[in-house]
Amino acid sequence: MASYIAKRLLVIPLLLLVFSIVIFFLIQAPPGDFMTTYSAILAGSGSSMDNEQLNLMRIDYGLDKPMHIQYIRWMGKLLHGDMGLSLLYMLPNTKLIGDRIGLTVLLAFFSFILSWLIAIPAGIYSATHKNSIGDYFFTVINYIGVAIPNFFLALLLMWICYDLWGLNLVGLFSPKYEMAPWSWAKVGDLLSHIWLPSLILALGGSARLTRIMRANLLDELGKPYMITGRAKGMSEWALVMKYPVRLAINPLVSTIGNYIPQLFSGSLVVATVMNLQNIGPLLLQALSMQDMYLSGSILLVYCLLAIIGTILSDMLLVWVDPRIRME
């Protein structure tokens, strides 16, 4: 087991290297660079910069060098833990990302927990009450959950909450706490805001998970060990919870790896719509402004989180399924 984990951890740097190359060249793919965007903005606001100045700045930022040289310079800094400077904010990327990573992971974690809390009971109910009214109800909810874009759901819920109860659910903090240093009151304020974006992000995922849970459980409910359990004298409820539910969750655990990147990328649009202070809006802005070092660094952090998520889900699977553990 220890050697298995060590092996998986050793692959991380290699994967990150491959991803960094792909990411770097993908971000550079659109025509122009940050200076092009920058001068366009300046022109839009009435002021302007001549070409000479722009080129001087290009040389300053190293944007005049060939792409592979730029990549090597970026990589060289990354290896020293320096993600470079955001051309847009004129701040170190490490600080920009570091300020927001906590909330990003927290939001993803909450959505993840919520989606499982919704999906597993709903899946169990649907499978044990197959083709009942409740089952159909969850099926309809699930299809809506899968079909509706989550940013639209966000807009809808925000509007409903505001219209009905006068609640302003934009952002993760009340204005009072937005700039305040961390305190218990601020944590409480965060918790009172984070549930709605978490719920919105969770719904799409939980719809899929419910379907998987229902199908898995239906498979398990017909297995011969159910007859053994009934013949032992177990009550139906205890039997269903102990054996088939446990077995039906195993394949669900293996989906965690795919689900985590989805949570991050899904949160980008929702976070922008709801003005959440996580990495999502930062990435969107960096991409549209061609702030390449910032967007590259964010995407690399996403990759790292996804890799860690996959490893965690694999380890979890090993832990819950003795058949995998003992191979």
């Binding site: 060990y225 032992k232 004298g233 446990r246």
Partner: protein, 341 residues
């Protein structure tokens, strides 16, 4: 045996499956008695209703199957003259759950899939023990190890923590038997317990079952399609065909003096090791009718060489006494006395 009261009495049991296509009468008026310390064999082709009969006794028939009539009576442990009617119980209730595993235990068909693969066999056997005996976890583990030992499993202290897929087919079947006897039942229902394992192991398992039955004075309801196994194991045999009992009687009478045309045809079609004739093995002509359109009258009449036209295809025969403790549902014995029990 005649003056003794039966341990389990199945009377006129009817189990129907209500499907969209129609009603399938899987078990249609089955009666038999099982006595203490006896091995009762139920034999029949696949689809004859023997497994459904077994499930009805434990009240674990899955929907759309339903018990439509008849009784399953189990004598009480403390008062053998008094009977519990299992068919009258709520199938999810406490009463029947105390019977399952505690009074009547099941040895299921597929030892491979009968255990959950993600729980140790010890965990699953201990669960059965804790459901029926008032013991704590440590005591249950002790009983579990004893139980594994008594079914001839070596290193029971170690094997108790293994998973079913780590055991060989024979060991797995032994673990199943250990789980069945752990609740100290009076009746074991063995549903084709040896079909999935090889012949050598099969012989060992059969011997083990017989030994356990003698030591613990249990009764066994042995369900199989293998006449050889029945001859070896059972004292009394019930022959079923299409949801009905064709003939029942002591094992010697059934094998040496069968009365019902179906039993006779069945025995004729067993290959013999002694005979070296080059003649073709006789088979029963025709095939089993589809369960949706069971023939009217005696279900066997379309394939029966002795069928009486205008009689067997119209009326359903009752059980006639054809020997000592031997009964046949066939109009050939119409003049014999009717079995009223």
């Amino acid at each position: 045996m005649t003056d003794q009261k039966p341990l389990l009495s199945v009377r006129d049991l009817q189990v129907y499956f209500h499907l969209d296509e129609g009603i399938v009468k899987s078990v249609d008026g089955v009666s038999f008695d099982a006595y203490k310390g006896q091995v009762l064999g139920i034999v029949g082709e696949s689809g004859c209703g023997k497994s459904v009969t077994m499930k009805s006794i434990l009240r674990i028939v899955e929907p759309p199957g339903r018990i439509m009539g008849g009784q399953v009576l189990l004598s009480k442990r403390d008062h053998p003259d008094e009977y519990l009617d299992l068919t009258a119980m709520n199938e999810k209730g406490k009463e029947i759950r105390a019977v399952r595993g505690g009074e009547i235990a099941l040895i299921p068909q597929e030892p491979m899939a009968a255990f959950s693969p993600v729980h140790t066999i010890g965990n699953q056997i201990m669960e059965a023990i804790m459901l029926h005996c008032n013991v704590n976890k440590n005591e249950a583990r002790e009983i579990c190890v004893q139980s594994l030992k008594s079914v001839g499993m070596s290193m029971p202290e170690k094997r108790v923590d293994s998973y079913s897929w780590q055991l060989s087919g024979g060991l797995r079947q032994r673990a199943i038997i250990a789980m069945a006897i752990a609740g100290n039942p009076r009746l074991l229902v063995a549903d084709e317990p040896t079909t999935a394992i090889d012949v050598t192991t099969q012989a060992q398992i059969l011997r083990l079952l017989k030994d356990l039955q003698r030591q613990r004075e249990m009764s066994i309801l042995f369900i199989t399609h293998d006449l050889g196994v029945i001859a070896q194991m059972a004292q009394y045999v019930v022959v079923m065909y299409l949801g009905r009992v064709m003939e029942k009687g002591p094992v010697d009478a059934i094998f040496h003096n069968p009365k019902h045309p179906y039993t006779q045809a069945l025995l004729r079609s067993i290959p013999s090791a002694q005979k070296t004739t080059k003649t073709k093995l006789p088979t029963i002509t025709g095939s089993i009718p589809h369960p949706f359109n069971k023939p009217k009258g005696c279900p066997f009449h379309p394939r029966c060489i002795d069928a009486i036209k205008g009689k067997c295809d119209v009326e359903l025969p009752v059980e006639y006494i054809v020997g000592d403790q031997q009964f046949a549902s066939c109009f050939r014995y119409e003049k014999n006395e009717v079995n009223n029990r």
